[in-house]
């Protein structure tokens, strides 16, 4: 089927961070999710949050080689969003009657569970990073997230040479690891 080949290509593009694939997926699926969230007591911001969370879930799934999507991307994204949103509503304890578009859905319990585990791990790292303070936070972000090399970082932060910056980076890294593992072990 042609559709399937297209979808496979999109997922491959998504997994390798191709802007075009990301924008295509965004454009093709966002409206549907937005309508659903707005119909169910949510705001435009809720719609964006939930949709982006589902995109993250899809992206992280697509990273694994063994990942095979057994339904259309559209169905998958809709199902994830629907589940995430119902969960959010339940947490808020809001009561208006949920409306459904009678779109096709698939079971995504496992996906949601995996996603929540990853959210928790992400939150631990994020908190550890947040409580690190400057310049450690920016230095480590520069190295691990923006993937800059030590020479660039030394210039950015005004160290006289790369070795001094490196030294500082390791001091910061050890603090970060301490913060991270103090939380991570609780989570185990």
């Amino acid at each position: 089927m042609k559709g399937d080949i297209n979808e496979q290509a999109l997922l491959k593009g998504l997994a390798s961070n191709e802007t075009k694939a990301i924008e295509t997926l965004y454009k093709d699926n966002f409206g549907m999710v937005q309508t659903y969230i707005l119909q169910n007591n949510g705001s435009y911001d809720d719609a964006r949050d939930i949709f982006q969370e589902a995109m993250i879930a899809l992206y992280e799934k697509a990273q694994s080689d063994s990942f095979v999507l057994t339904c259309q991307i559209k169905t998958y994204v809709y199902s994830i969003c629907r589940r995430l949103w119902l969960k959010r509503l339940q947490q808020l304890g809001r009561y208006s009657q949920p409306v459904d578009n009678l779109e096709e859905t698939v079971g995504v319990e496992e996906e949601i569970e995996d996603h929540e585990k990853r959210n928790a791990a992400f939150a631990i790292m994020d908190r550890a990073m947040g409580s690190l303070g400057e310049p450690c936070k920016s230095l480590l972000e520069g190295y691990y997230i923006q993937k800059k090399d030590m020479q660039q970082l030394a210039e950015m932060f005004g160290y006289t040479n790369a070795d001094n910056a490196k030294n500082q980076k390791y001091k910061c890294l050890m603090r970060l690891k301490k913060l991270f593992f103090s939380q991570y072990n609780i989570g185990e």
């Binding site: 961070n17 966002f30 007591n41 009657q97 949920p98 459904d100 959210n119 928790a120 994020d126 890294l173």
Partner: protein
């Protein structure tokens, strides 16, 4: 911090990222086998490195998503509510308010996402409860379908092409067709209200107070016959713990009665805006009046605790007075005419007779957007 520690840390990182020359690597391998402490550090760092890679990947992807959103929005390929066709002045105020909250939500959104993930992770997940909920939703979905067909038969007043967004309960504030409900019930641009006999009336959204989660509607329909007097009054002062309360609402198409008691003077997380009630409440009860035994409205049912059965929260009735005073001060037109009934005529009346008299004043509110 020890210099050796730093050197070791650097070595481990180079080892794990395959940046060690052959000879050094062989030496380090040997060191690992001989020194369990170092071996442990390597394993620990591998774990950390894995989490860090994942963290970096997600942060970069999130940035890409934001970028894609902004891009598509600019190209007009997606919408996000920044341009809304505005019907009347009051609707405009509503949208203006919505935008202010949108900014706050955007700031809080990301943090909330992270925290909520964490909360879910650390709190015991009750699988049964989750299953139960989705079942409920199936039922509601079916109800909605049924409701849809019924509405078509009697020619609904919801404009064609409009979509139902949310539903709840509302009650009369006075004899001129002013109704009170929760702000979160009115998600759309217009609303219809249905009385306990199933008659539908058009209503205008006059005022939305997101802070107190209260909203005012006015029935604007020639077919509507207003009652000559309201049986109940709205209480200004607080009520006592343990006081018996009851409510009427529309968790389904038919009006439903529920009773309980006041269990706390403050609401969820010590919120002083609300009372905590012990009462069975369901989706659709939002905006419903909470009465005490004398037939005074003491609160507006608004939320319930998701995890605990039977715990609900109601906005204290005193805030209805505060909201009306605020709208008067701000000169919001159409609101100045509202006169609240000061005396309940339900005192000492048997419950079932109280209900018969109240029933006509409690409406099913359906919000739609065009």
């Amino acid at each position: 911090m020890n210099m050796d520690d730093i050197l070791l840390q650097e070595a481990i990182e180079r080892y794990l990222t395959n940046q060690m020359p052959e000879a050094e690597r062989a030496y380090f391998d040997q060191l690992r086998t001989k020194t369990p402490e170092i071996d442990q550090l390597v394993v620990e760092h591998a774990m950390f490195q894995h989490e860090m890679d994942f963290y970096a990947q997600r942060r970069n992807f999130t940035a890409q998503l934001h970028h894609a959103h902004a891009n598509l929005l600019q190209q007009g390929k997606i919408q996000d509510g920044t341009e809304v066709s505005t019907g009347g002045k009051l609707i405009q105020i509503f949208h203006k308010y919505k935008r202010v909250t949108a900014i706050a939500a955007a700031v809080g959104g990301f943090i909330a996402m992270v925290i909520s993930g964490l909360v879910v992770y650390f709190s015991p997940v009750n699988q049964n409860q989750l299953v139960q909920l989705s079942k409920d939703i199936e039922v509601i979905k079916r109800n909605q379908q049924y409701q849809g067909s019924l509405l078509n038969e009697v020619k609904s007043k919801i404009p064609q092409n409009a979509k139902l967004i949310s539903g709840g309960t509302g009650f009369l504030l006075d004899t001129h067709g002013y109704l009170l409900t929760n702000a979160h019930v009115l998600k759309g641009s217009g609303a219809i209200v249905i009385n306990s006999k199933g008659e539908e009336f058009n209503a205008d959204i006059l005022h939305i107070d997101n802070l107190r989660d209260l909203a005012v509607l006015k029935i604007n329909d020639s077919e509507y016959n207003a009652p000559r007097a309201l049986p109940y009054s709205i209480r200004k002062s607080k009520i006592e713990l343990g006081e018996e309360i009851f409510t009427l609402g529309y968790p389904r198409n038919d009006v439903v009665y529920g009773e309980g008691y006041l269990s706390s003077r403050s609401g969820f997380n010590n919120d002083t805006l609300t009372y905590q009630l012990q009462i069975s409440a369901n989706p659709g009860n939002s905006g419903g009046p909470v009465f005490n035994g004398q037939g005074e409205i003491v609160g507006v049912l608004s939320t319930r605790q998701a995890q605990t059965e039977g715990v609900a929260f109601a906005v204290k009735s005193g805030y209805i007075y505060t909201m009306l005073a605020d709208t008067k001060a701000e000169n919001i037109s159409g609101m100045e005419k509202i006169k609240l009934n000061q005396k309940s005529s339900l005192r000492g009346v048997e419950r079932k007779n109280q209900i018969t008299r109240i029933e006509n004043c409690v409406f099913f509110v359906k919000a739609y957007s065009k």
